[in-house]
């Protein structure tokens, strides 16, 4: 799932959601994946599109049935999250 999320890029920055540290949590329950993520700005105009891209990317991972993408702005994203360890997202959800 993390590798799939690495393919979803912020079009302006050219960096993936994982590199930017936008993914806060990944919960995997059998075939269902719940991704809790944020955006670099609350009013980001690609808000809807980005969620769709995440659904598409994760949905293509073998074995994944349902993808639930949740958006949160708590805590708000800061540049300090760039390069955050993606494994922490999974650890948090378990």
């Amino acid at each position: 799932v993390i590798e799939a999320l690495r393919t979803v890029l912020d079009p302006e920055l050219g960096m993936s959601l994982i590199e930017l540290g936008l993914v806060y949590a990944i919960d995997i329950t059998e075939g269902t994946v719940r991704v809790t993520m944020t955006l670099t700005a609350a009013g980001c105009p690609i808000h809807d599109a980005m969620l769709e891209w995440v659904r598409g990317a994760v949905g293509r991972v073998p074995g994944v049935g349902e993808v639930d993408v949740r958006l949160t702005f708590e805590p708000p994203w800061t540049p300090d999250r760039i390069g955050a360890d993606p494994a922490a997202a999974i650890a948090r959800s378990s």
Partner: protein, 434 residues
């Protein structure tokens, strides 16, 4: 706790801001060519009908149209409020473009009677823009720094329009008390410092951190900007027109505001996590740097250390051509590719290979625009100070080359609207590259 995200569909169709921006680029090219054409006039006094036409091509045709268009894109993004009426925004575009063309034409011809309808139409467009944005900002959940600066700018735009209309009508009916030039100077400074500056500073605080990947700015520089402009601009206008003792405190407030802005931008640039600056950001940072010599000259005028039409022209070139124009050019290089990408590739992203924003741009053309525009501004400021028509024309031709390069760079981006192309970056395992 999961927060409810912003509502989808807040932003207007990309064609709305784009129409303002494309008209504005036309204004920039016209202004730079006009500068070359009017070089002999620019070697003399700045108050001549044809130079007033040139000034309004820059302030209205270039700066105001870009800022108005960007507002319709940025208010939904940075304030999370939908535009009150997108249809009205399209009518405003028509009124502004028609009015500005009429104003510039009548100024150029020195036809004051004909100027009235054009100025009236422009004023109507400006007033409707104020109404549309003000109604868009109703019920804001939080009056952030950016929201307050946009509100300040709307007040500044209203006062600029009022002063401008009064000056135009005074050419026919002679009703304004006091001398003409102080009122003219107040009109210019209301436009520059009351309308354009708070928009630049307000948007910078919200957008530069996004582009630079820098922490959001905060602290005392924000208060300096709000109070410095909020008190300084009215004090300066009153000091110029009615009560001279207010001139120096007004100038001090404005310099404090600029100091706060420079502090924030330099901190964001220093703390950025974005590894490499693109040409848009280089434009923005260079423009911010040119605010310093402009502020120095402005302070010189306020303190009576500088005087005369040549230094006044250099001041206008550095402030409008340097700080404002380079900042606007940089923002265009950030906003236009996004608008085009969103329209051309947004619906296909995640389903098919699409390019990144950087792949839409032509770095060579953007570099040429940067080189010619920055060199042109520096050369023009020097040439008008010297007052040599030949050098003014040479500098203006360099400036025009930059304006054309900027237009070509943007047209390369716009081509993607007509002929979208597959992107290289999407050859990924999941095929979901954005």
């Amino acid at each position: 706790m999961l927060a409810r995200g912003p509502r989808g569909g807040l932003t207007p169709p990309p064609t709305l801001p784009l129409r303002y921006m494309l008209a504005a680029v036309g204004g920039l090219i016209l202004a730079s060519l006009g500068t070359a054409w009017l070089a002999p006039d620019l070697a003399g006094h700045y108050y001549q009908p044809r130079l007033v036409a040139l000034t309004h091509t820059v302030t209205l045709g270039w700066a105001t149209l870009t800022i108005a268009g960007a507002t319709y894109q940025l208010v939904p993004v940075v304030l999370e409020r939908p535009i009150w009426s997108e249809r009205l925004a399209r009518w405003i575009w028509g009124a502004l473009v028609t009015g500005i063309v009429g104003m510039v034409g009548h100024f150029y011809l020195g036809s004051w009677a004909g100027l009235v309808w054009a100025a009236g139409l422009t004023a109507l467009g400006g007033a409707l823009h104020i109404l549309n944005v003000a109604l868009s900002m109703r019920g804001l959940p939080a009056w952030t720094f950016t929201a307050r600066m946009i509100a300040l700018a709307l007040v500044g735009l209203g006062l600029t329009i009022l002063f401008g209309l009064s000056l135009a009508l005074d050419r026919i009916w002679k009703f304004l008390p006091g001398e003409f030039f102080p009122t003219l100077h107040a009109h210019f400074h209301l436009a520059l410092l009351g309308w354009i500056s708070p928009m630049v500073m307000g948007v910078a605080a919200r957008v530069y951190p996004m582009f630079l990947l820098a922490p959001d700015p905060g602290g005392w520089p924000g208060a300096l900007q709000i109070w410095g402009l909020g008190l300084g601009v009215p004090a300066l206008a009153l000091g110029l027109t009615a009560f001279p003792p207010l001139l120096l405190p007004g100038a001090a407030g404005i310099l404090a505001a600029l100091g706060g802005h420079l502090r924030w931008v330099s901190a964001m640039a220093a703390d950025r996590r974005r590894p490499k600056l693109d040409w848009g950001l280089r434009f923005v940072l260079t423009g911010t740097g040119l605010a310093l010599p402009a502020a120095g000259l402005g302070a010189g005028f306020a303190l009576d250390l500088a005087a005369g039409p040549r230094l006044a022209l250099a001041y206008a070139v550095l402030a409008l051509g340097g700080w404002v124009s380079l900042t606007i050019a940089g923002m265009l290089l950030k906003i236009v590719p996004f608008l085009v990408w969103y329209r051309a590739y947004g619906p296909r992203a995640g389903r098919a290979p699409v390019p990144t924003l950087a792949e839409l741009s032509d770095p060579a053309l953007e570099a040429a625009a940067y080189a010619f525009l920055t060199a042109g501004v520096a050369a023009l400021a020097t040439a008008v100070t010297v007052g040599e028509a030949v050098w003014i024309r040479v500098a203006a031709i360099v400036l025009a080359a930059g304006a054309v390069a900027l237009a070509l760079a943007l047209s390369r981006v716009l081509r993607h609207l007509a002929t979208p192309r597959p992107g290289r970056a999407a050859a990924t395992p999941a095929g979901a590259s954005a």
